[in-house]
């Protein structure tokens, strides 16, 4: 019985291959976009984790030397003898100029993670110690080939452009015998060991951060990518929902017959669910494969963006990860389940006898419309309430979901209202028929139009957010990178000499002084600034007290960044403790885009009083002739060219990074819009078969097939235009939620929102073009329908 039932159900797809294609393609596209974005994110995160595991950052407390110096091997030995469980790390750069490799030396006998950083599976400890290999991924190993005399072992889990080896090998290769860069502390330390100050007073302890710095820095970028992936997935699921709904609707009679011939309802539901599960898995496999292509195409741009924005090393090559495959298949099955639940319930509730069915179905449709309207109103009202009174990141995403789903559900009702308005104003008989017929088509097209609405809104929202970010960031760069030249010294002595040398050649020398601190109970950085014309002229503040710069320069007040202000609930006029005896009022709040942690700025003299041991090793230099100053620094002072950075270079680089970001966003925009175009195309194509009974009377009454085809095209364009008109305000609302709610909740800073009418107009034209393209073939088919097919509509019997 099961096989017979399945063969009957499957025969529907065999006879309607286009519908089957729509369903599988919709699933594949939805899964592809989702899993493609997830693959990019997963690859990037795996790279951060590999980097964190390699360097011990984030996971363990560390002992660090004073800025600009290193740790003597004797200090490490003294700490071990005193009972401190520490593992030494030495690191430095080797390999080709321009793309150097970071070589990290660890001691597997004392490192808290043992051989963990190198995967641990490919080699045991005695082998590691005796063969003294250098571990790197394939690309990095290729770079090092021939440059080092140690054996190279390929280990794919190691971070890009990083190599790991035994500490003695690393010291030899780096020419740093007897020197260490930092010590990693094991999580469990013996009780009763002497205090650090008694053995190594020059070392400072940095606490574990529960994750890599880079991982947290790039969260914003990944969050946005994930949101985009989710929206794309939603658009795809609309297609699947449409295809499943249509298939179930067309199989209503068959289901009734199967039941009348003795197929139990429960068995039938299980068979239909199994059938969908198989299709979901097929669509999922195709989607994950497509997603791999999407990810492999996007990853180089994403990797370049992350490297440029955050300095994060992300491998440009994609690895096949089982978890990613499984999650792709799971999302495909989940999406199908979401799309099919309503249809399966309606089959389960469908009356067996046909006579009772039409009236029940009509009642059901009317009720469904009322439910849809009620749900839309409830969701939009919830979104409004969340926007006004909600708090937290979950609320932000809840707001996004309510807004988008509520708006999508409202779309058919809004469009119906617009079309009704047009129909009552129509004068000619053809126009009246056109508008009435368009209204009649609306239910069949509404899912595709909802998909278009979401795709357009996502485009408007995300591009507004990225463009606003770019504008704001450009202004922020002008503010932060005011100095024409930035220089770095190798040691404290060189820093002092450099400052003395540069002073007469520049209008201002701005030391970059900072320490890690805990402010208002939060991890933060305290900066010391030499307040002068640069700060006064260039720094814009989000909020400021009168005479803000005078009071900060005098050491009577301080500035805090927006992150610290928002997280600690502080604002201008509030007090902040920055030392055991020092509490200062906040005189201003500054924007600090992209920075994950809080910052406070005090005057340089006050900073030096609080932290006399900290000396600036980096400086910003103000000059009218950057070229002359650069020459003087290299020729007269002898500073290596690599220690000098032009402001223009940094800005150009930063903006280039944004162009990369735009490439990623634009690619996702095009993909999402294509999916929506595909949804319209498939809807029109499947509806075309059912259109004949509606169009045949108009043809019989004197309208040519060509004219009917033209009107079909116009109908698609009109509906796309109306949907676009609805998508613009929704997209702007989406951008506002992303910028003013999600970003603030997730990262503590708010971006100002700008609008880009020209971009929206271009996007609107693209949407119309997509609709036109989608409607072209179905309209052409209609225009060429043989009269015999149209005549069949009027035949009572064949």
């Amino acid at each position: 019985m099961t096989a017979t039932g399945l063969s009957a159900l499957w025969s529907h797809w065999r006879r309607n291959p286009l519908q089957l294609f729509t369903l599988v393609a919709g699933l594949a596209l939805a899964t592809a976009l989702w899993s493609g974005v997830q693959a990019v994110n997963a690859e990037a995160r795996a790279s951060y984790d590999a980097a964190a595991a390699t360097l011990g950052e984030g996971q363990y407390d560390q002992l660090l030397p004073a800025a600009g110096s290193d740790i003597a091997q004797e200090t490490f030995i003294a700490l071990r003898r005193a009972g401190w469980l520490v593992g030494p790390v030495v690191e430095g750069q080797i390999g080709p100029a321009g793309t150097p490799v970071r070589l990290v030396g660890i001691d597997p006998l004392t490192a808290p993670g043992g051989l963990g950083p190198v995967g641990g599976g490919s080699m045991d400890l005695p082998q590691f110690l005796s063969e003294q290999p250098v571990f790197a991924n394939a690309a990095t190993a290729a770079k090092l080939e021939g440059l080092i005399d140690a054996p190279l072992v390929i280990e794919p889990t190691i971070a890009p452009d990083t190599a790991i080896t035994d500490i003695f090998v690393a010291q030899r290769l780096l020419g740093a015998q007897g020197r260490l860069n930092r010590l990693i502390l094991a999580p469990e330390q013996p009780v009763g060991r002497p205090a650090l100050e008694n053995i190594a007073p020059d070392l400072t302890r940095r606490a574990a951060q529960g994750g890599s710095d880079v991982g947290r820095l790039t969260d914003s970028f990944h969050l946005n990518l994930t949101a985009f992936g989710l929206l794309s997935f939603a658009v795809g699921i609309f297609i699947v929902h449409g295809a499943i709904g249509l298939a179930f609707e067309q199989r209503r009679a068959m289901v009734r017959t199967l039941r009348a011939l003795g197929m139990p309802l429960r068995r039938l539901i299980v068979l239909m669910a199994s059938e969908l599960l198989v299709l979901a898995l097929i669509g999922g496999v195709l989607g994950v494969s497509l997603g791999y292509i999407v990810a492999a195409t996007l990853l180089p741009d994403v990797a370049a963006t992350l490297k440029g924005l955050y300095g994060a090393q992300v491998s440009g090559a994609l690895q096949l990860r089982p978890a990613w495959w499984l999650s792709g298949l799971a999302i495909s099955v989940l999406g199908t389940a979401i799309a099919a639940t309503g249809a399966l319930i309606s089959v389960a509730r469908m009356p067996l006898l046909a006579s009772a069915q039409p009236r029940a179905w009509a009642t059901y449709r009317a009720r469904a419309r009322q439910i849809q309207m009620a749900m839309s109103v409830a969701l939009l009202a919830t979104a409004l309430i969340l926007a006004l009174v909600g708090e937290g990141l979950v609320m932000g995403f809840g707001l996004l979901a309510c807004l988008l789903i509520g708006a999508a559900l409202a779309l058919p009702l809004v469009l119906d209202g617009m079309l009704w308005l047009a129909s009552v104003r129509a004068r000619s008989v053809v126009a009246q028929w056109f508008w009435a017929d368009t209204r009649q088509q609306l239910p069949g097209l509404s899912l595709a139009l909802m998909a278009l609405l979401l795709a357009m809104a996502a485009n408007v929202g995300v591009s507004t957010m990225v463009s606003s970010f770019r504008l704001t960031f450009t202004g922020f760069l002008d503010q932060r990178l005011a100095s024409e030249i930035y220089v770095s010294a190798q040691s404290v002595q060189q820093a002092r000499a450099l400052e003395a040398f540069a002073a007469p050649l520049t209008s201002e020398v701005l030391p970059l002084l900072s320490v890690e601190a805990t402010l208002a109970g939060l991890p933060a950085e305290l900066y010391g600034a030499r307040i002068g014309a640069t700060y006064r002229d260039n720094w814009g503040l989000l909020a400021a007290a009168p005479n803000v710069w005078d009071s900060v320069a005098a050491g009577d007040a301080l500035l805090v960044n927006e992150q610290l202000a928002r997280r600690a609930g502080l604002w201008v006029g509030d007090d902040l403790r920055i030392g055991p005896q020092t509490v200062l009022p906040i005189a201003g709040v500054f924007g600090d885009y992209g920075n994950p942690i809080g910052q406070a700025i005090v005057s340089e003299p006050l900073f030096s009083t609080l932290h006399p041991q900290v000396t600036a090793l980096r400086f910003g230099l103000r000059t009218d002739d950057a070229e002359a100053l650069r020459n003087a620094l290299t020729d007269d002072f002898g500073l290596p060219a690599a220690s000098i950075t032009d402001q223009a270079q940094i800005k150009a680089f930063s903006l280039a990074v944004f162009e990369r970001t735009f490439t990623v966003t634009a690619a996702l925009n095009v993909l999402t819009l294509s999916v929506a175009g595909f949804a319209i195309f498939m809807s029109l194509l499947t509806l075309a078969g059912m259109r004949l009974p509606q169009l045949a009377p108009a043809w019989a009454l004197g309208m040519t097939r060509r004219r009917l085809g033209q009107l079909e095209l116009m109908r698609a364009v009109v509906l796309a235009a109306l949907t676009t008109a609805c998508a613009l305000p929704l997209g702007l609302a989406l951008a506002w939620v992303l910028l003013a709610v999600v970003n603030v909740e997730a990262f503590g800073w708010r971006l100002p929102m700008y609008v880009f009418p020209r971009d929206y107009a271009v996007l609107g034209l693209f949407a119309l073009a997509a609709a036109l393209l989608a409607a072209a073939w179905p309209a052409r088919r209609l225009a060429r329908t043989p009269p015999a097919d149209l005549l069949k509509v009027f035949a009572n019997e064949r």
């Binding site: 019985m1 009957a8 003795g262």
Partner: protein
Amino acid sequence: MLLHVKHLKKSYSGAEGAVPVLRGIDMEVAAGETLALTGESGSGKSTLLHLIGGLDTADSGLIELDGQDITAMDDTQRAAVRRTRIGIIFQQFNLIPSLDIAANIAFQARLAGTYDVGSTDDLAKALGLATHLRKYPEQLSGGQQQRVAIARALAPRPQLILADEPTGNLDESTAADVMSQMLALVAQTGAALIMVTHSPRLAGQMGRQLHLRQGLLA
């Protein structure tokens, strides 16, 4: 006796409350017997047929098919009875449009687990469908589609055939052909036949006639 129906009642809810359709039907049908159910529209003929076929449930009363009480069965048990013991022929044919004619004829027999290639081929030949087996329902005329529905109902060798105005959608000449073929085949299989019809001429071809009036047997 193959079929016992006792005190069968059924009503549908309408805008003005419950509307009684069957108000206490008692009848019996022997194995191999042919019976016509006649009556005006709304007299309850189709409802009685649906209740006997387990397609709908009665408000009260008893329907015993070969000693088994259908009214006491749940949905799954009624489905089992339908696929193994009853063949139903609908006025609207209700073929599965995506299966070809051969698959449609064999469908219920496959469901019942009684499929036999030889006997379904014989049915197809007897009903003049042998040359249409690879076609789809939409490619056949109304008369041919109803012949397919008859073959499908007979293929599992049921004890009881229920036919709801099987020629209602056919012209007179075609209807006569279909009817004579159906009666001949039913006689060959030894099944009982209950047929709902408006036509006194068709009813006259059956072994017995029952007339329904306002939900009661006249």
